[in-house]
């Protein structure tokens, strides 16, 4: 190929552009690994009053004008990273829940692309968010937020290690765990994500190692720049277990007898006795799927039509709300599907008449029914 002077100029310009591009790698995390840093001094002087041609320096000493060479070194690979908890608070879970998520951010604060091996662990003791660990979650798994939406997507976020993360880049990592059914309200399961630098492109499999011994001039050495100099950082997060804690109290009162009516009634045969079953939830989560099975007392007969203008058998109040009612059919079948019926021995009150007991006074449930003393 014949290159004319005009072409030559263009070629040199192109080369200069490439060189300039290579320099524009310094980001917030510093100059990229493998960047060559060059320095060449120049001395000007005169001899006998006559200015001489300036002489550029070389690494070992140069005295020839126009000669010399830059003194250079290559920026080495500083491995550094941060792992931070993402949400700033714990993850609320209830006993028995599967695939519950805590979130972290892994950031490459080194100066070259890295991969990371990820390890989730249950912490033993210690406090996170001021809450001391006193239980564990099960089936701990870790997944990388592959689509960058910050939310765990089962089936999409399947990578269990960070393959390659560019310098100064971050990625969200999830710990996914199951909450044992044996956990109880108010317990805390503290977990930790550990990220260990690995060679990029190895799916976290080949751990990065520090270059031992002296610097290798002209080659990129690896230096662990993190605080502990182990290329590993951790962050903790927490599962806070919320559960319902139900309190049930049962009281009885004579509401009428055949002689005194409703005025100071006595518990004599033929008297009506009202039972009140009070349920309150002192836990942190609503109790759902509530069903009351109450054995009917011996020597009594269930009083049908005791409420709602003799139309209903059971009264249910929730908090300060007006009472609702249901019919407790005998025979063991809820024929009108209102949630209430009687077996040979029990009164059963369930959905839809009663399904949920919410936390606090507003959720207090009282179920009332009456019997007649035989």
């Amino acid at each position: 190929m014949l290159i004319q002077p005009a072409n030559l100029r263009r070629v040199l310009l192109a080369a200069a552009t490439i060189a300039a591009g290579a320099w524009q790698t310094a980001g917030a995390v510093g100059t990229a690994a493998n960047t060559s840093i060059a320095n060449q001094a120049t001395v000007s002087y005169s001899v006998g009053g006559n200015a001489q041609t300036p002489i550029p320096s070389s690494p070992t000493g140069n005295s020839t004008p126009g000669g010399g060479a830059p003194t250079t070194f290559v920026v080495d690979n500083r491995i550094d990273l941060t792992v931070t908890e993402l949400s700033g608070g714990n993850t609320l879970v209830t006993p028995g829940q599967l695939n519950q998520v805590t979130s972290f951010t892994v950031t490459n604060t080194g100066n070259s692309p890295q991969g990371y091996q990820l390890t989730p662990t249950n912490l033993a003791g210690g406090a996170v968010f001021g809450n001391t660990d006193n239980t564990d979650v099960a089936n701990l798994r870790v997944f990388v937020d592959s689509n960058g939406n910050g939310t765990y997507d089962a089936g999409t976020d399947t990578a269990t290690a960070i393959d390659t993360l560019a310098a100064d880049a971050s990625v969200v990592v999830f710990i996914v765990a199951d909450v044992p059914g044996t956990t109880t309200n108010g317990q805390f399961a503290n977990v930790q994500l550990s990220a260990r630098a690995a060679l990029p492109g190895t799916a976290g499999a080949t751990l990065a190692t520090e270059t031992a011994g002296a610097d290798t001039p002209g080659a990129v050495d690896t230096v662990f720049g993190d605080a502990a100099r182990d290329a590993t950082e951790v962050a903790a997060d927490q599962y806070a277990i919320e559960s319902a804690a139900l309190t049930v109290a049962k009281t009885s009162a004579v509401v009428a007898d055949p002689h005194n009516g409703t005025t100071n009634p006595k518990a004599i045969p033929g008297a009506f006795v009202e039972y009140a079953i009070a349920i309150s939830n002192t836990g942190a989560a609503p109790a759902t799927g509530i069903q009351i099975n109450d054995p009917l007392p011996a020597s009594t007969a269930f009083r049908s039509g005791a409420y709602n203008g003799a139309a209903s058998d059971v009264s249910i109040t929730v908090g300060a709300n007006p009472a609702t009612f249901c019919v407790a059919e005998a025979g063991g079948t809820d024929t009108n599907s209102d949630g209430c019926y009687r077996t040979a021995t029990d009164l059963v009150v369930g959905a839809p008449a009663l399904t949920t007991v919410n936390v606090g006074a507003g959720g207090n449930v009282t179920v009332r029914f009456q019997v007649a003393i035989n």
Binding site: M1, I3, V11, L12, A14, A15, I18, A26, V29, G30, T31, A33, T35, I37, A38, N39, Q40, A41, T42, V43, S44, Y45, S46, V47, G48, A51, Q52, T53, I55, P56, S57, S58, P59, T60, G61, N62, S63, T64, P65, G66, G67, G68, A69, P70, T71, T72, F73, V74, V75, D76, N77, R78, N111, T211, A214, D215, P217, D221, V223, G225
Partner: protein, 163 residues
């Protein structure tokens, strides 16, 4: 087209200095630039000592000390000796390290206007001027107050940090 042009430009860069070097006679001063990093060692008696070693394990944040050394290799004294050493790309100037007493030190941002540490100013976008910060220095100049005698060696060093 891409590959041949690159190959050609590389050849130009490689051949140019060598060709010039052959054409030039030696001058009167030999000039050397070295890059060093600090290494802290704990001696046998427990003292921590910082020594300078050839630039090793240089990562962002590492301090690198550049030393320029000039030696008069002629039989005549050299006058008006001035060594200009640029602060390399990706580095910031931190301060002088060890400077021979004969040197008067000045700095430059643009490589044209040199002044002492309190003489450099920067013009802001709004037209006002302020004193230059040391991290804005891009050149260091060491000018000898006296002549460099035959056989005499002087050196000066300054500290920079990898960004």
């Amino acid at each position: 087209m891409n590959f041949p042009t690159k190959a050609f430009s590389l050849a130009v860069f490689a051949l140019l200095p060598a060709g010039l070097a052959l054409a030039q006679e030696k001058g009167c001063i030999e000039l050397k630039t070295t890059a060093q990093t600090e290494q802290t060692v704990v001696s046998a008696d427990g003292k921590r000592e910082t020594t300078l070693v050839p630039a090793a394990k240089v990562v962002p944040g590492t301090d690198v000390i550049w030393t320029v050394t000039a030696t008069n290799i002629c039989g005549k004294p050299a006058g008006d000796v001035a060594i200009d050493s640029p602060v390399p790309e990706h580095m910031v100037y931190l301060g002088q390290a060890a400077v021979a007493a004969t040197f008067s030190v000045s700095y430059s941002i643009d490589g044209k206007r040199y002044a002492g540490s309190d003489g450099l100013t920067v013009r802001e976008a709004d037209g006002s001027t302020r004193a230059a910060r040391t991290d804005e220095y891009r050149h260091v100049r060491y000018a000898m107050r006296s002549a460099l005698a035959p056989g005499q060696t002087v050196s000066a060093s300054y500290r920079t940090r990898v960004q």
